[in-house]
């Protein structure tokens, strides 16, 4: 979609600037005149929402770091002090903690949008891969940040996750001790986690820059999955999508604010208000909701190394997704079988989240009468998760007969009446 630039500097200063540093031209071409498919629905607003999430996390995080103390003896108390004594500290901390959840909520919807409409397919493979890199960095940042309050969940979460690396053959123990800076999770670990937690958002911002760059070369995908053919298929980004994104951002912030002001601890665990104790593990430790599906996959395997490999594989498979899906049709709108498999994929992800929150040996409600416990439910759903990527998408593209697609994006939006000759029988009958 990168066409010839339409930017025209109007004043003496902008003409002077444009010859030296064409930054106004870059902004104009990227966010004002950028040609965008005219049929984007609200699922396409999550990119803008995510940019806002990142800014909120960085802003609140920088000011929280002015009050937080990264030491095992003071961390817990310093976080409580932020909540109780620092001016507006309660607001900043609740925004930051809930902001992480909101960030993941938005990123999951953003990713499912990409999966449903085939946004990962050529020519957007790199755009997708950069997105997966951002997602990985987000998980790292979220995990590191969760350790900082030094509550029971912080400590034991850090213990379990760092011990995952202990599953590596030969280098396992040296690597975990290198991560800890000691023989166990301790003060050295907390200090470095704070340092890295501060670093990663800026790495994310850098990769987001690449992500947007990679988006602006082929341009947006759209609900039909059709490639933009003429100017009539597009609208300028401003005002059409600045307004649409802006509206969605405001609605999203209302939901965000509801959690921050009325239900700030709903997405966390009460155990994390208990200071870390290296001698006692809480009876039921679970990760934050956004990591539960991966936790379920980890537990689905009875072998330590196998579980770790499978869990990382669940994210790794996303990197090769663009080459696994053999269908030439991007959008699931026109894939009558694919959309059902996709629906079950979404159910499998939600189901894995549920399994991750439960004890493996407990019986599943209703299905428990058949002897199904959460361990086996997790195994079945894990099988489907990988099956969707490794079997369904590669084979379905070869056997599925796609539904009829509109001739162009423009016609899919403006209807057939504009082009009488192409009107289908059903439309004429109305």
């Amino acid at each position: 979609m990168s066409g010839p630039s339409t930017y025209e500097p109007k004043t003496g200063f902008t003409r002077w600037l444009d010859k030296r540093l064409p930054i106004a031209r870059l902004g104009w071409d990227s966010f004002v005149d950028f040609p965008t498919p005219r049929n984007l629905n609200y699922w396409w607003t999550f990119g803008g929402i995510l940019a806002v999430c990142l800014m909120i996390q960085i802003l609140t995080g920088i000011v929280l770091a002015m009050h937080y103390v990264p030491h095992i003896d003071y961390s817990c108390a310093s976080v409580e002090r932020i909540d109780r004594d620092v001016n507006f500290g309660w607001l900043l901390r609740n925004s930051h903690a809930n902001g992480a959840s909101m960030f993941f909520l938005a990123v999951y919807l953003h990713m499912l949008r990409g999966l449903y409409y085939g946004s990962y397919k050529a020519p957007r493979e790199l755009l997708w891969i950069l997105g997966v890199v951002i997602y990985l960095l987000m998980m790292a940042a979220a995990f590191l940040g969760y350790v900082l309050p030094w509550g029971q969940m912080s400590f034991w979460g850090a213990m379990v996750i760092t011990n995952l690396f202990g599953a590596l053959p030969v280098v396992g123990t040296p690597v975990t001790e290198w991560l800890w800076g000691g023989f166990s999770v301790g003060n050295a670990t907390l200090n470095r986690f704070f340092s890295l937690h501060y670093l990663i958002p800026f790495l994310i911002a850098g990769v987001v820059g690449l992500h947007i760059w990679a988006l602006h070369v082929p341009g947006n995908n759209n609900p039909t999955g059709l490639t933009v053919k003429t100017g009539a298929d597009t609208l300028p980004f401003h005002p059409y999508y600045t307004v649409k994104d802006g509206f969605a951002i405001v609605v999203f912030l209302i939901i965000f604010a509801f959690f921050v002001f009325y239900w700030p601890d709903a997405l966390g665990h009460a155990d994390n208000y208990v200071e870390a104790d290296a001698l006692v593990t809480p009876a039921h430790i679970v990760p934050e909701w956004y990591l539960l599906p991966f936790y379920a996959i980890l537990r689905a395997v009875p072998d330590k190394l196998g579980g770790v490999i499978l869990m990382f594989g669940a994210i790794g498979v996303l990197f090769i997704l663009p080459w696994l899906d053999t269908s030439r049709v991007r959008s699931m709108r026109y894939r009558p079988m694919g959309r059902w498999f996709f629906l079950f994929f979404v159910i499998a992800c939600l189901g894995l989240g549920w399994v991750g929150a439960e004890l493996p040996d407990n019986k599943v409600p209703v299905l428990g009468v058949l002897g199904l416990d959460f361990l086996w439910m997790g195994r079945i759903l894990t099988l489907y998760y990988f099956g969707y990527f490794l079997v369904v998408l590669p084979l379905l593209g070869l056997v599925e007969k796609p539904a009829e697609r509109p001739a162009s994006i423009e016609r899919s939006v403006l209807g057939k009446d504009t082009f009488g000759a192409a009107a289908p029988v059903a439309a004429l009958a109305e």
């Binding site: 034991w156 213990m159 379990v160 760092t162 011990n163 995952l164 202990g166 001790e177 290198w178 991560l179 800890w180 800076g181 000691g182 023989f183 166990s184 301790g186 050295a188 470095r192 290296a278 001698l279 006692v280 593990t281 809480p282 009876a283 039921h284 430790i285 980890l298 537990r299 395997v301 009875p302 072998d303 330590k304 579980g307 004890l359 493996p360 040996d361």
Partner: protein, 205 residues
């Protein structure tokens, strides 16, 4: 004298000299880069004060039969359990070849020693010269690392299929000898180096 850098083709520039500078620069940057990188990696390893090994002394005379305490040794929690005679007997009956991990994992014994109850208990502890320790006490004592060998949680006492420890995180069951019996954990709980320095004092490390 002729200018060594001069020839007709390069008009005064000697390509072999430029090649040398190029290779020397790339070599210096490459090798130097690796050397400069190492301190940034190595700084994350345990620092000297952390490495300075410590010892922990436990008074096992106060432990009643069936009681358990958790002590800290080298930053990590350790279980100290005085097992009942029935527990020891039940544990001793288990065939080693039926265990998921047949290795004693005992720092006081040679690597690869079988995971018999005897090899797991404080019978394997060193006894200082001139010290006499009751053999029943030694056989009943189990001292082991308290971090599950799966992902490091501390198992709950008195729970699980074997009435000893059950890890709440991912469901590993250990017996009264600290041996993994069921679940994802790959190894038995490790036995630290230990020495009786008096009839009732056990030193770890």
């Amino acid at each position: 004298m002729t200018d060594v850098n001069s020839n007709h083709e390069t008009g005064g520039e000697d390509s072999s000299r430029r090649d040398f500078l190029y290779i020397a620069t790339v070599g210096a940057v490459g090798v130097g880069g690796v050397f400069a990188f190492w301190p940034f990696i190595d700084q994350m390893n345990p620092a000297a004060d952390t490495l300075a090994l410590s010892t922990t002394e436990i008074n096992v005379g106060d432990l009643e039969e069936g009681a358990e305490i958790t002590v800290k040794f080298r930053e990590r929690p350790h279980f100290v359990r005085r097992r009942t005679a029935e527990e020891v007997a039940a544990s001793a009956e288990v065939a080693v070849n039926s265990l998921p991990d047949g290795d004693a994992r005992n720092a006081n014994l040679a690597a690869g020693s079988p995971a018999t109850d005897e090899n797991r208990s404080a019978l394997s502890a060193v006894i200082d010269d001139g010290v006499e320790v009751d053999e029943t006490l030694r056989a009943s004592l189990l001292v082991s690392g308290a971090n599950c060998t799966h992902l490091g949680c501390v198992p709950t006492e008195g729970a699980g299929d074997y009435g000893a420890w059950f890890c709440p995180c991912h469901g590993s069951h250990y017996d009264t000898s600290g041996r993994i019996r069921r679940g994802p954990a790959p190894e038995n709980l490790p036995i630290p180096p230990m020495t009786f320095i008096s009839a009732t004092t056990l030193r770890l490390g």
